[in-house]
Symmetry: C2
Subunit: 85 residues, 2 copies
């Protein structure tokens, strides 16, 4: 299989698996099950993967980790909004 | 920065961020917040990333996704054990 197609399918699957938690948090307006420390650790790790993807010039890695960063920054924002209540 | 060191740091960070959920599920013996469909989607995606890592011969990708597969298979086993109760 072409490695880029493989990487894109892999990225779509790992990205799709993140959506339900995001929907749940937004729908229930409840972020109690999230840990902001772990979100920050995760966002840092994902950002380094994007950097890694740029160095290696691998689009599937850049795209899937960028998507994951967006999802997790959104979760972090939800955490800050809903925790105040 | 050497790309392998970068990838390993990235992998350690994204791996570490998974541990609290695993500990929580095992400690509370409660897997209600897990979705087995999403775990299967995630495990499929991570497995394809391992395959991608082998094709590209990139150890950081192979190692971090292998770790993630182990964590998520453990979560899936926890789901099956605790859901029965």
């Amino acid at each position: 299989m072409d490695e880029n197609i493989l990487g894109i399918i892999a990225g779509v699957l790992t990205s799709v698996s993140m959506i339900p938690q995001l929907i749940k948090v937004i729908k229930e307006k409840n972020a109690d099950e999230l840990s902001w420390i772990m979100l920050l650790v995760l966002i840092s790790g994902l950002s380094l993967w994007i950097w890694y993807g740029f160095i290696k010039d691998e689009l599937p890695i850049i795209l899937s980790n960028s998507f994951a960063v967006i999802v997790n920054i959104t979760l972090l924002i939800c955490y800050m909004i809903y925790k105040k209540k």
